[in-house]
Each structure stands twice: as structure tokens, then as C-alpha cells.
Symmetry: C2
Subunit: 285 residues, 2 copies
């Protein structure tokens, strides 16, 4: 059985670090504050909002909810973002996506001040992830992968990493973060020929395709570290990752490691969001 | 002997295409214009300037030279860039780098309007290369690699590519351009363990480390396509690429292909610069 890379110890460690930093900010009169922009009442958004509110509260981070109706105009949305940008008491902003189809999501993301773009949604943040310069944050899930590896002491430099999935929310940014840490990264995607071989070649595997249990025994070998970013529901409604977890465990062996779904990367993502808010607040003092 | 991927036929094909487009612009009263910003009198810059002037002239593209003294202040440089941004008769701008050490090169690059950033130097252009959205251009050498592959009919989609070198001028952007075309890309660098094996695994290899003849027989195998972006001079002062060309040719065999140095990618880069100027001019009409 491989080591289970559980999210909870990582989340606890981040929380312990953040509590001290929030206190230090309070002593300087700064209350780190996250704005959450939500359009409509999508159940996924409402659920994540509750999680974020609870987590923020436990850390002493304030949350300002900005709720817009599902039929808000683009101008109305852009106006809300301008207000967030202008409000010095707001340090970070999370806007739930996807937005309703009538809205230009990219324009909205790109309008947010990169210094407040704590989920790395805008062009400025993406430019920073790619180039290492400018302002902004990496998307939280991408950073969560690195937090997970660092917490469990997984060596990154000089290792081969395979990232499966090339989205801007996770695949491409996590590839850049791993490369920045001197991994040799292969970016795989739907058009990759023999993705199983590419995954098997790697020491560190990040699965981020949103395909329930799509990666089975032939993708894995002894000793790999697998970060399963997928949050899927199978036909029976059971939450699962992109890896066929049981098959992966069989192959990874004692020396391997894998994040379960649930109880893996998901919770760490919320912690990283809070960490980014604290960093954004620290940058203002 | 592998196929020699010579730059000249690519350059000729691009020129034939551009001449028609320049004529069409002329009919609409637009004279595509490149501004060249040069600080001081570095021989490399002067040499490339002459090449660019000649190439531009042959295509009917106007060039405006903006020459600043080697001790220009940052304010003076930024002022020149502001003037380029404001001047509607200038469609593209190339600024020679590296700048003298007393200048903030990144600030200068990022200040250029991305729509005129025809060598992809600024953050806006880099963000576009990474994300596929926003405005700007890929760095010319990165685009030149794709032009070379396309001209010679090399299949990219579904192929494995190894990019060696992770600079923002070539390695990282060409990795993104290859991925956009559905290659599975491995980004190698100085910290890659067993770079020879990583290169050997790939169908398409881009060498961009600036290490003279550093990649020899054990890096190559039959049938690969090798794009050698390095422009180096050996101890005897002979220009050479990053590949040990003779050793590579032995390994690649009849089915392989390689760009020589000189007469390979270098000249195509200048053509891409001109193509970007024409594209920038077309975007204004």
C-alpha cells in the first residue's frame, strides 16, 4: 500500500502558519479580507462558498460576499470588479466560475487587479506563472499540488513529472510551478499518443483531466507519487478522482504515494486561497 | 544523411506571401512600419539591424531606427517606448537586448504596447503565448521553429517533442506553441537528469541552450527532426549550433531531419519578425 497523501495535515500546517501571520497583520491594524463574487445560486458555488467562509472564519480572515443575480449584465459584473479593485480594505477576490453563458468570463477575470487575483484567474497572474515576473498568483489548485509535495517531503528538483491535462486552471500552471522547482515536466493532454507510457515514465504524476477513474494499472509503476486533482462523480454518484485508485495503489507499492479523492488535494486548495489572501494583505503593509 | 532543413526556402516562401500582403496594405494606404530601438553600438545589434533593414527593404516594409546613447537614462528609454506606442504610423517595434546593465530591461519590454510587440518581449505577449488569450506575439525564434516544421511538412500533432532550454525568448514559448499544435512536450533544462534520454525519446527536438556542440550521438536516434536554435562560436571562432552536427547526422539517418547552423533557423527568425509587422499592420485596418 502506498503512502496516502492526506490533505488534512497539510491544511493544519498551513493554518498554523497563517494564524500567526494574521495576528501579526492585526497588530498592524490590517484585517485580511477576501471578497467572493458569486453570480446566481449554482449549488457548487454555494457549497464552496460555505467551505471558504468556515475556513476563513477559523483563521480570522474576513469575507465580503458580493452576490449578483444570475441575469446580471456584463457592465454590472465589471462594475462589481471595479469596486473590488478600488476598495483598499479588500485584499483578495475569488470569483466563482463558470459564469453564466451570457457573460464574458475572461474579460471579467482580466479586469481584476492582479494583486487581488488570489485564484490566479486573470492574464496578469497567468503571465506571472509563465514568466516569473509581474504580479499575481498561481491558481490555487496548482499551488496546492506543490504544498502537498513539500509537506510530505517529496523531492521535486531533477525529477520527471507528467502533468495530464492542459487547462489554465491547473494543468499548464502546475507544469510551470514544477518546472520552476527544477522538475523536468511533460505536459500530456487528450491528443497525447500513449499517455499511459508518458505517465509511467514520470516520478511525479499530476492527473487533472476530470475523467472519472480513467487512469488505471497500466499508467502506474512502483514508487511514483500521484497527485489526483480530479473531482468526479461516478455513475453511482460516488465521488472519485481521475485515477482508478485501487488499481493505482496496487501498482505504486510501498514506496509510492497517492492523494485520495476525497480527502486529498481538494481541501488544500481552500487553504492556499486563504494563504494567498494573507500574502496579498502582507504586500499592502 | 538526414534531410537538411534549410532556412532559405522557408524565408522565400514567407517573403512571397508577405509581398502580396504588403501590396494589399499599400492599396489601403498603409505602409507597414517597424521601429527598431537600439541602445548604444553593440556589434551584434548593429549586425542584426543591417540584416533586418535589408530584409525589410526587400519586402516593402519601412523601418524607423531609434538610436539611443549607451548611457541613456531609464526615463529616456521609457519615453522612446511611449512615443512608439503613441505613433500610429509604427506597427511593430523590436528593441535589441540585452540592454546595458543600468537599465531595467523588463520594465522597458513590458511598457511596449502588446499589439506592437512583434518580438514577444513583454508580459502581455508572454501571457498570450501561455494562455492563448489577450494580445501580443510569440517571440520570433519560437515562431520560426513552427514555420520551419510547417514548411517541411513535419507532423506535430500527437508527436513527442523535447525542448531543451527554458528561456522566455525561446524554450518556454516554443514549448507552448508546440503544445497548442497538440504535441506532447517535455521541457528540459540544466537540472534535467539524463537529458540525452529525454531528447532520444522525442520525435521533434528543439535545442536552445546556447552550448556549442553540446548534444552528441547519445542524444539522437533514427528518424528524429532536430531544430537547432543555438548560435554559438567554438574555440576556433567557427559558428556552430547546440548539436554536434556530424554526430547528429550519423544517428538521425535517412528518415531524420536537422537544421544546420548557420543556414537554418536564424534567417527564418528575421522573416517571422517581418511577418509579425505585417500582421500588426493588418490588425489596424
Amino acid at each position: 500500500m502506498p503512502t496516502l497523501l492526506l490533505g488534512k495535515p497539510v491544511t493544519d500546517a498551513i493554518a498554523a502558519d497563517l494564524r500567526g501571520r494574521v495576528e501579526a497583520l492585526a497588530e498592524r491594524g490590517v484585517a485580511p479580507t477576501l471578497a467572493i463574487v458569486r453570480v446566481g445560486e449554482r449549488p457548487d458555488d454555494m457549497s464552496y462558498e460555505r467551505t471558504a467562509l468556515k475556513r476563513a472564519e477559523s483563521l480570522g480572515i474576513a469575507v465580503r460576499r458580493i452576490v449578483l443575480s444570475a441575469d446580471v449584465s456584463q457592465a454590472g459584473l465589471m462594475d462589481a470588479i471595479s469596486q473590488v479593485n478600488a476598495d483598499e480594505s479588500i485584499h483578495g477576490c475569488l470569483m466563482f466560475r463558470p459564469l453564466p453563458a451570457h457573460l464574458d468570463e475572461q474579460a471579467a477575470c482580466d479586469a481584476l487587479d492582479p494583486r487581488k487575483d488570489v485564484d490566479g484567474a486573470g492574464l496578469g497572474s497567468l503571465a506571472r506563472v509563465f514568466s516569473g515576473r509581474g504580479e499575481g498568483f498561481a491558481p490555487c489548485t496548482a499551488t496546492a499540488c506543490l504544498e502537498m509535495l513539500d509537506h510530505y517531503g517529496t523531492e521535486i528538483a531533477g525529477k520527471r513529472a507528467a502533468v495530464v491535462g492542459r487547462s489554465l486552471v491547473i494543468g499548464r500552471p502546475v507544469a510551470m510551478l514544477l518546472m520552476e522547482r527544477n522538475a523536468t515536466v511533460t505536459l500530456c493532454h487528450s491528443r497525447t499518443d500513449d499517455v499511459a507510457a508518458a505517465i509511467r515514465d514520470a516520478d511525479i504524476v499530476v492527473l487533472a483531466t476530470g475523467r472519472a477513474r480513467a487512469y488505471g494499472a497500466k499508467c502506474f509503476r512502483t514508487g511514483q507519487t500521484v497527485l489526483d486533482v480530479g473531482i468526479n462523480f461516478d455513475a453511482a454518484g460516488v465521488m472519485c478522482g481521475d485515477a482508478d485508485f485501487d488499481a493505482a495503489c496496487d501498482m505504486l507499492g510501498e514506496e509510492g504515494a497517492i492523494t485520495p479523492v476525497p480527502r486529498g488535494i481538494g481541501g488544500v486548495t481552500t487553504s492556499v486561497l486563504m494563504k494567498h489572501v494573507v500574502e496579498a494583505a502582507e504586500a499592502t503593509v
